[in-house]
Amino acid sequence: MQKVKGKIRLSGLAGAPGLAYGKAHHFRPVEDVTISRSSNNDPVKEQSRMDDAVRAARAEIAMIKEKVAHDANASEAHIFDAHLTFLNDPALIKRVSNAIGQGLNAEAAWSDAINLFVEQLEKLNDPILRTRATDVSDVGQRVLNHLMGRSNAIDLEPDEPVVLVAEDLSPSVTASLDKKAVLAFCTALGSATSHASILAKALGIPAVVGLGEQLLSLQEGQLVLVDGYNGRVVLEPDEAELEAFLKRKDTDRELAMMDRSNAFLPAVSMDGYRIEVAANIGSVADARDAVESGADGIGLLRTEFLYLNESNLPREEEQMRVYAEIAAVVGDLPVVVRTLDIGGDKSVPYLGTRNEVNPFLGWRAIRMISERPDILLSQFRSLLRGFAGSRLHIMLPMVSSVDELEEARAIFDAAREQLKTEKLVFAQDVKFGIMVEVPSTAILADHFAKQVDFFSIGTNDLTQYTLAVDRTNQRVAHISSPFHPAVLKLIKMTIDAAHRNGRWVGLCGEMAGDPLAIPILLGMGLDEFSMTPASIPSAKRIIRNYSKAECQKFAEEALRFEKTELVKAYLSSKFQCM
C-alpha cells in the first residue's frame, strides 16, 4: 500500500470502465450462518415455505439469465440455465420433502440435501464435474437466503449507493447488482477477463479488480475514488484530488453522451487518415452490440464458444449456422475470424487437450494441426460456408513459425477444393492472415508478411510471451504491461514489416481501446484498432482528436525509454487520461 500525504492508493486491474466516488461497503458472501435445526415441525407449513423459497429463487435466476443473455453474452447465460435445472431436480426435491415429512424444518432439510450433492460432486475425479459443485452450492445458498428471509439482491440501501468491496464476486452475485445501488465495485481477486469483469462491463458498472488482500482492510463507510479506466482506487482523497476527480467525472459523463451520438461517424484523424475501429466479439449477441456501438467491422471473432461446453466436435452444419447468424448481423462489415484457440488451460476432452504443466507454452491453438487437421478443416469449411456472402478474413492464432502457416494454408486450400467439388456455396476472395502474439513471429514479420494478407497483433499474449509473465498471477502481474519498451518495439517492428510488404495491420488486445495507447499506435501506423464494443465510441473520439503526423513524434519519443514506468509517465503527461 502506497501512502502519499495521508491518502492511500491501491492499484489493481481495470475491470470495467467508469469513475465513481462513494462510501465503501463490504460485501461478504454469506458467512457460515448456523442453520437452525428443529424437529416436530408442521410438515405442511414447512413444505409450503420450501416451495415458496424455491419458486422465488427460480424467478430470480430466470430474471438474471435474461438480463445476462441480453447484456452480456450467451456463454455467460448458460451458467444460469444449469442453476434452473438443479432447482427442478426430482432427487433433490424428494430428499427435501422426505426430511420435511419427518418434521425437520425447511432450512435444515434443504441445506442437508444440497450439502449431500455438493460433497458427492466434490469427491469426483473429473475436474469438470467437480466445478459443478460450486454451481450447486450457489443455487443452494440462494434458496436458503429466501427461507431465512434474507434478500439475494445484496443488502444495500437504495437511497445511498455504495462502492462495493469484496474478495471476489460470483457470476450470480455480479449479475444481480443494481446500478442504482452500486456505484462501482472493487475486488481483491479477479482479472480483467474474469466473469465479474465481463459482467460489470456489460452492466455498465465501473470496476477495479485484483487489488490484493489489502483492499479488505479498508473501513466500512470510508470514502473512496474508483477509477475503472486505470484500475486505481484512492481512499480518503483530499479536497484538491476529489475536486479534480469530480470534474473528470462530469466531463466523462458529457463525453460519453457525445461519444454515443458520434459513434457511427468514421474515425478520421485530424490530418485526414481514416482509421478502422472494429470490435472483438465472441457470440451472436456480441455481434449485435458491435453493430450498435458503431464498429467499422469485426476485428476479432473468437470461436472458442462453439467448442466449449460440448462433448463432441460440433458438426459442420452447427458451426455454419452460428457463423451465418453472425454474418446476417454484421452485413457488409468486414469480419476477421480467429480459428480455434484452445489449450490445456481448458479441458475439452474431445479435442484431445490434456492437463499440462505449462498450458500456455503447450499443445494449443494452431499447434493442434499436425495431430488434428480435421478440426481446422471442419472449421474452415464451416466458415467458408457460413460467411458465404461476407467480407471474410480468417486468421490463425499463436503462429510461431512459418511451417505452421504453410500447413494451415494447405488445409485451407483443401477445404476450398472440397467445397468446389461438392458444388456448395462458399465465400470467395477470403483474406488469410495470422495473429502476431509470439515474439518469434514479430521478429520474423518480414517473412510472414510475404505469405499473408494481413496481421493482427494480439497484445495480451504478445506481452505475456515477451515478458514471460502471467498477468493473472497476482505476485507478478505488475510486470505485465503492453507499454514495456520491448513489447512496444515488437509492435513497431510488426507494423513496419507489414507496410514494407503492402499489408495492413490490426491490433486486437485490450491495448487497442486504451486511451494512453491509441495515439502512439496511431503514430506507429496501425491500420485497424479492435476492441470490446463498449470502448468503440471513445476510441473513435480519441483518434479524431489527433493528427497522425504529431502522433508519429509521440511514438518515436515513447520508443526511446528503457522502462515501462518512463513510457507510461511520458504518455500520461502528453495525453490526458480519460
Partner: protein
Amino acid sequence: MVTIEFTIMNESGLHARPASDFVMEASSYKSDICIRNSSVSSEWVDAKSILSILGLGVESKHKIEIKAEGEDEVEAIQNLKALLEKNINEKTK
C-alpha cells in the same frame, strides 16, 4: 422390469450435455427409471435427476446399468439405449 448394461465409449463420459439429454429423455416416461455406475459399484439413483447422474462420475469406459419399471418400461429402455448409442457414443469425427 427391464434392465440393460452399457459401456460409455465417448471420451468425456456422461456429463454436461449428454447427461442432461439423458435426463430429459428419461423424464418423458411414466416408469421409474434408475441408473448406476457399475464400474465404481455405485448405488442405484434416479435417472430423472441430473444431480444424481452427475454424482455418479461416469467417465469414459465406465459400465452403467439402467432399469425401468412401469407401463412404458420397454419403450423407455429401448429409447434410452438408442440415445446413448446415438449421442453419447457418437465418435468424434
